[in-house]
Symmetry: C2
Subunit: 135 residues, 2 copies
């Protein structure tokens, strides 16, 4: 059983065949697929799963804290499994590749900025867009 299925069990999310397939595909994905791409991968396992179900499941999983949704540039939402440790993303503007990174110092500064403005930070979005330095 994959880790997403396990999380579903823990959270009392009913496990249907379709959800199991989607859970498995997302568990196996090391990238950040959009719904179309996810549906494509899911269809290779069971071509009867509709895209509506993928949309519904992905939203369900997100609300359960199992998946994380990202609205990178491009207009299509992309998903990844909720990581144990928070990370941000650098997007290669040429290839579309996404690199994950962690920077505690930035996180700390963001908290300080929010506090200084009289706010408690509840969420944040940080995306870097860059082009590869050739050497």
């Amino acid at each position: 059983m994959n880790s997403i299925e396990e999380k579903c069990k823990n959270k009392g999310v009913r496990l249907t065949d379709q959800r199991k397939v989607i859970a498995m595909v997302m568990s196996d994905s090391k990238d950040h697929p959009d719904v179309d791409e996810l549906h494509k991968r899911v269809s290779e396992v069971d071509k009867k799963i509709s895209i509506a179900t993928v949309y519904r499941t992905v939203k369900l999983f997100e609300e359960a804290g199992i998946l994380e949704k990202h609205d990178f540039k491009g207009g299509k939402a992309r998903y990844e499994q909720s990581p144990d440790e928070h990370h941000d993303h650098l997007i290669d503007i040429n290839s579309g590749d996404i690199i994950e990174f962690v920077d505690k110092d930035i996180e700390k500064l963001q908290n300080e900025v929010a506090k200084k403005l009289g706010y408690k930070l509840v969420d944040h979005k940080e995306e870097l867009y860059g082009s590869k330095i050739k050497k």
Copy 2:
């Protein structure tokens, strides 16, 4: 003449009546209106200006570097006049208020992170979402 009109002149962007109105409204706006809201404000000056024109103009101005587009949570793009000095945003998750802030330290760290990953930073998006601390 407002500052956006001036920028249009400098960049050789043809100035129509509609664009002048949109330029004026955006110059007067101190917030981050979405296209609907902008169209509403523009309509108070000239109710014959269509929303299609607002969409086209806002995109044109953005491509000319005159306006900045933001995709905050909520699904609708929001615009502000391109500032002289770059700033980021903190969004009040309860009221929707947007607070602008500048943090050179964070900017510097972002550049370093990108460089460390082998990238040249060309753009970045940083949004903090928070709730007001009551005292």
